[in-house]
Amino acid sequence: MPKAFDKNCEIISNDMINRNYFRLKVKTYSALNHCIPGQFFMIGIPDVFLRRPIGIYNVENDVLTFLYKLVGYGTKKLSTIKTGQLSLLGPLGNGYDLKKIENLKYVAVVGGVGIAPINFLANKLKNKGILYYGVRSKHDILDLNIFKKKNWEIIISTEDGSEGYKGYITDLLQYNFDSKHILISSGPNLMLNKILKIAVEKHISGFISFDVKMACGLGNCQGCAIRVKDEIKMVCKDGPVFKIDDISFNL
């Protein structure tokens, strides 16, 4: 596991991608190629009390890229900061187990900003896979170049029907999915809940990544606890990526 650092890092850019999403690039001072997809950083935002957990979108040597959605006060404030330094604590948490995924038929099921860690994962995986990607409307579809470059099969759904299937991405899984596949998932809790149900019904194994509120990101405050089987786990430290077999529960 790579060691975490807690330091100020220079902003390279912090650009709007579309109405809801921003891409943040920062320069760290050592190569971070050891970061694992699914891991995250706690990012300190000036005038915001708690840091915010943001998943790694990509790593190239000493340049870290994050993709974040404007959700509340913290991310809105972050989107206004274009230069200077941000305090970064990370890489944190357990990511996707590449060794367990690599040689299998993988299917990624992604909702909204959940695309960030999966983008990083696709970058690291050699083979192509299948991407199920659900968003609100076609304006929310983010850059899928890495998937295209690696010949992934891409299936898109929009809630308003402006592109691809009209409805939820989970609707499509009912039919096209069986225990030969290994599932990789990341997105809003409502979606993860449905996916877990389908996965349990069809005996599909795999990994899912949770997005929850965090205060410390280090396992210190126990604020991010979820119940996994009969144990309490910290999403920040034991996750954010969990094995599906371990979490047959309702979020």
């Binding site: 300190g44 410390c216 396992g219 405050c221 604020g223």
Partner: protein, 301 residues
């Protein structure tokens, strides 16, 4: 010359007055890769109960202006597993370890203390009489219970006892009762009972109850320290909203011998080290030779 930061508290020597407060530093050893734990004045572990506890369901944390409201509910592995698995890992840092404990009644406290009596590496025990996040009511609200718990434990142990009090209007009365019962020190104070309303009609205006911590509570907790210091003879650990060296010195000057830091450590464990360095700097700048010169100085005017 560097100022002297050594403090004696309930007979234990602390290299500096900055300790981590309960529940904000895990069991006390997990962050060794991130900061140099040996540099801390000491560690208060998260609160341990007789039986393991799952804690409360989500939501557990809400950010508010200048602070957080937490509703963790004393999630912990229980005293037996704590002693077997974790205690060893904390004592290797060679700084004082204060174990925070909580029970539902005198009997539970005594069972826990009997287990801790067998461990000679514990510097002190902090009695968490003030957790606002349990189904039971806060122990500090019941003065007889406070008295009975402290006298009950005191008979069974030689380990110094520190009572962690609620920040309540009658804190002086609670402090005097705790002193009469034989407690060796006080922590002032725990989080403030608080609540957050989710203003969303579709979510039925859900409320979250919890304890408020962070900079928003600092001036109130300092006042409690000041008021209690004047009237008691036992030493005080000041706690509430300390984010930097200046905050820590405010508490020390108002009568705390040690300060404990919670929320600032959640934001960045580095803050702990920064606070120590800032205290040193402030003393140097003001040509104060020893931290002990300023403890309670506000009361001496």
């Amino acid at each position: 010359m560097n100022p002297n930061l050594n403090v004696d508290f309930v007979g234990i020597k602390f290299n500096n007055p900055v300790i981590v407060s309960s529940g904000t530093f895990g069991y006390g050893f997990e962050l060794e890769d991130l900061i140099d734990i040996c540099k801390l004045g000491g560690i208060i572990t998260k609160t341990i109960t007789l039986e393991p506890r799952h804690g409360n369901p989500q939501p557990r944390i809400a950010e508010v202006s200048s602070g957080i409201v937490n509703n963790i509910g004393l999630q912990n592995v229980g005293i037996v597993k704590f002693v077997e698995k974790y205690l060893k890992k904390i004592i290797k840092f060679d700084i004082p370890v204060i174990v925070s404990i909580s029970g539902k009644n005198v009997c539970e406290y005594i069972k826990i203390i009997e287990i801790l009596n067998k461990q000679d590496c514990i510097s002190a025990v902090e009695l968490n009489l003030s957790c606002p996040n349990l189904n039971e009511s806060i122990i500090c609200n019941d003065l007889d219970l406070v008295y009975n718990i402290i006298t009950g434990i005191k008979q069974k142990t030689k380990i110094p006892l520190i009572a962690k009090l609620s920040p309540s209007y009658n804190i002086l009365e609670i402090a005097l009762i705790a002193q009469k019962a034989g407690v060796d020190g006080l922590t002032i104070a725990n989080t403030y009972p608080a609540m957050v309303v989710n203003v969303d009609i579709y979510k039925k205006f859900n409320v979250m109850f919890g304890g408020l911590s962070g900079p928003s509570i600092k001036p109130i907790s300092i006042r409690y320290v000041y008021d209690v210091y004047k009237k008691v003879d036992i030493p005080i650990i000041g706690c509430g909203g300390i984010m930097n060296g200046n905050d820590a010195i405010e508490f020390l000057a108002s009568g705390s011998k040690l300060v404990s830091v919670g929320t600032a450590c959640l934001i960045s464990p580095n803050n702990l080290i920064n606070i120590i360095e800032e205290i040193e700097l402030i003393l140097k700048k003001n040509k104060i030779k020893s931290i002990n010169e300023i403890i309670g100085i506000c009361n001496k005017k």
